[in-house]
């Protein structure tokens, strides 16, 4: 208990030190740091609009995909393909959404979300199958599948799914019945956020309170020990986790398409699948902590956008902070636990 508390304190300090360091560099670079800081804060938390239409909206996909990556890493599956699984989920969700838009919402919306989750699961299962059947490293296969997914989206929005005037590379907008309802009138925050929160809690309960969850953690800690001492079918467990991870990412894509963009186009994900690695790692792969880190990174990205608008500080700085957080966590973990490898 004590050790884990120290780790959380270390995580929090890491983030603070990195943000402070980045601002020191900004100051040295001649930027108006106080104005930038104010813009960062206002953009993330400064108004109801900032919280309900920027930070929480941005945090939602990060939460879905952070849970996906966190779950996979927990079982020792290095799923780098959350980006592709998210795109698969978004693509199929929009495709189904365009077909069932005429149905009443209580029927149509769940159908669309389930289709998205299943698409993500299917996309991940390709890599899971390759690993299980041929021993293909999932890092490489999921990376390839990310490219295939993004080219598929690129083709779909210029081909079969393109809007009828054939001017813009995107689909038509989804009907009202297949859109996730807004949680607060006049704001962009949608039901997907609550869904992601519920999933985080469910995932925490699964991992810590069920026998299957224990098996997942055992396989992640040591596949060979789980196999020999625990009698666990480690490759089967890892494959199932891989597919579940894909389903979470796919659902994230469906949530983004039905809650925010209402259409499919090429840039639907600005690299959520990669940011998710930072989200999951900073949370030490703990589902409840992933809620916190997703909110933090959502706020960071929302604030960075405001910083660019108001203080002319490039918003890609948020990516620098995310990357430094990952490197910081890796370094500190190693310093504290000299013989762990992940």
């Amino acid at each position: 208990m004590q050790a884990s508390r120290i780790r959380w304190i270390i995580s929090a300090v890491t983030v603070l030190v990195i943000v402070a360091a980045v601002f020191a560099v900004l100051l040295a670079g001649g930027y108006d740091s106080s104005r930038a800081l104010a813009a960062l804060w206002d953009g993330a938390f400064g108004s109801p609009y900032a919280v309900l239409s920027a930070t929480l909206v941005r945090a939602t996909p990060l939460l879905f995909v952070g849970l996906a990556v966190g779950l996979a890493f927990r079982a020792g599956v290095l799923n780098i393909g959350a980006e592709g699984q998210l795109l698969a989920g978004a693509t199929v969700a929009v495709t189904v959404g365009l077909m069932v838009g005429g149905l009443p919402r209580p029927l149509a919306l769940p159908l669309v979300l389930i289709a998205g989750a299943m698409a993500g699961a299917a996309w991940a299962s390709v890599a899971a199958w390759l690993k299980w059947k041929f021993g293909v490293l999932e890092v490489i296969s999921t990376l390839m599948l990310n490219f295939v997914a993004s080219y598929t989206v690129s083709w779909a929005v210029r081909g079969p799914l393109q809007e009828p005037t054939r001017v813009y590379p995107q689909t038509v907008e989804l009907a009202e019945s297949v859109r996730l309802p807004a949680l607060v009138d006049g704001h962009r925050l949608h039901l997907g956020f609550l869904l992601a929160l519920a999933l985080a809690i469910a995932l925490w309960w699964f991992l810590t309170r069920t026998a299957a969850g224990f098996r997942v953690r055992a396989v992640g800690a040591s596949a060979s020990a789980a196999r020999s001492a625990g009698g666990i079918d480690a490759s089967r467990t890892a494959a199932l986790v891989f597919i579940a991870s894909g389903a979470l990412a796919g659902l994230g894509g469906a949530s983004e398409a039905t809650g925010v963009t209402f259409a499919l186009y090429e840039g639907i994900s600005p690299g959520y699948g990669y940011s998710a690695i930072a989200v999951a790692l900073l949370a030490r792969l703990h589902p409840l902590a992933i809620i916190g880190t997703a909110l933090l990174f959502g706020a960071l990205e929302a604030g960075a956008a405001a910083m660019q608008r108001d203080a002319n500080v490039p918003s890609v700085l948020a990516t620098v902070v995310e990357a430094l957080v990952v490197l910081g966590v890796l370094a500190l973990d190693r310093a504290r636990a000299p013989r762990r490898s992940v």
Binding site: L130, F134, V139, Y151, T152, P314, L327
Partner: protein, 307 residues
């Protein structure tokens, strides 16, 4: 028609050049057992370095700074993985994100938010005497920037080096069985460190080619996933220098096909051709794993007792 073919082949080799450079870097790293996802970061760092270097001292300085910048990005991966012993995949991803973010930030900070069309001196194609007049292939292979000719030498040199020198064998031994290499007096961690740095320098040069021999300027995220494509190329090329050259050409050709279709007026969805090499790579992965073309220790951490 033959003109279309000639243009297509020449453009394919041109597109393949940075891909092959980066892939040779990745090949060496993977031969030492490391999948370096930070390569994409080395490429974008190299591209930015090329812009800065060429602005100060011309094309030559641009390539030198590009290689150094790529090397620096790889050095971060090496420190985190080999010294702090963290997971390679996560460290590589973080370094790629860091390099993409830093170059974007610096570019806007140094050259203005719009990134006004900033152009640098570029390396034009240089026809080699005699061989460049071979029909069709001559123009494709021998009317290229000088760096492409260096690349041909690099491929042959790597092949010879990895099979005929002690250092080359040490590299491959590290990727196959680091504990055995350690027992033979080789330091696997040191070999992996040098392999990563070499890979980073190659990635940096690839970024340099983008700026100094192709586009003539820098833009944010212009590496456009080439570091990851390089990983696919190494797999498809079955971890051999000559295979890598062929696979790089295939990827180069696939991305040029769209222009051929456009110029011929064929309504073929080019994205399918862009996706094709990745699908081939997946198939190759499923096929090679059994024939054990991949280094046996690829992607696995070094043993704490035999570094």
């Amino acid at each position: 028609m033959s003109d279309v073919l000639g243009d297509f082949l020449q453009a394919s080799v041109r597109t393949a050049t940075p891909l092959a450079l980066a892939a040779y870097g990745e090949l060496v790293a993977e031969r030492a057992g490391i999948i370096n996802l930070g390569l994409e970061g080395s490429i974008i760092a190299g591209a930015f370095g090329a812009l800065v270097g060429a602005g100060v001292g011309g094309v030559g300085a641009g390539f030198v700074v590009a290689a150094l910048a790529g090397c620096a990005a790889a050095a971060v991966v090496a420190v985190v993985v080999l010294w702090l012993r963290a997971n390679t995949i996560i460290a590589g991803t973080a370094v790629t994100m860091l390099a993409l973010g830093l170059t974007g930030t610096l570019y806007r900070a140094l050259y203005g938010a719009q990134g006004a069309a900033l152009s640098v001196p570029t390396l034009g194609p240089q026809a080699l005497p005699w061989v460049s007049s071979i029909p069709v292939l001559g123009r494709a292979l021998f009317v290229q920037p000088v760096i492409t000719y260096l690349l041909y030498g690099l491929g042959l040199g790597l092949w010879w080096w990895s099979t005929h020198t002690h250092a080359g064998l040490a590299l491959r031994a590290t990727g196959e069985r680091p504990a055995a290499a350690f027992a033979a007096g080789i330091s696997p961690a040191r070999v992996q460190g040098w392999a990563l740095l070499f890979g980073g320098a190659m990635g940096g040069l690839a970024g340099g080619v983008l700026v100094l021999a192709q586009v003539g300027t820098f833009s944010e995220g212009m590496s456009a996933g080439r570091g990851f494509i390089a990983i696919a190329i190494v797999v498809l090329g079955r971890w051999s220098p000559l295979g890598v050259a062929a696979a790089a050409l295939l990827f180069g050709a696939a991305s040029q096909l769209q222009y051929v279709f456009q110029s011929l007026g064929w309504p073929v969805p080019y994205q399918l051709f862009l996706a094709l090499p990745y699908l081939l790579t997946l198939l190759a992965l499923a096929g090679t794993q059994r024939r054990a073309a991949a280094p046996a220790w690829l992607g696995r951490a070094l043993d704490d007792d035999a570094r």
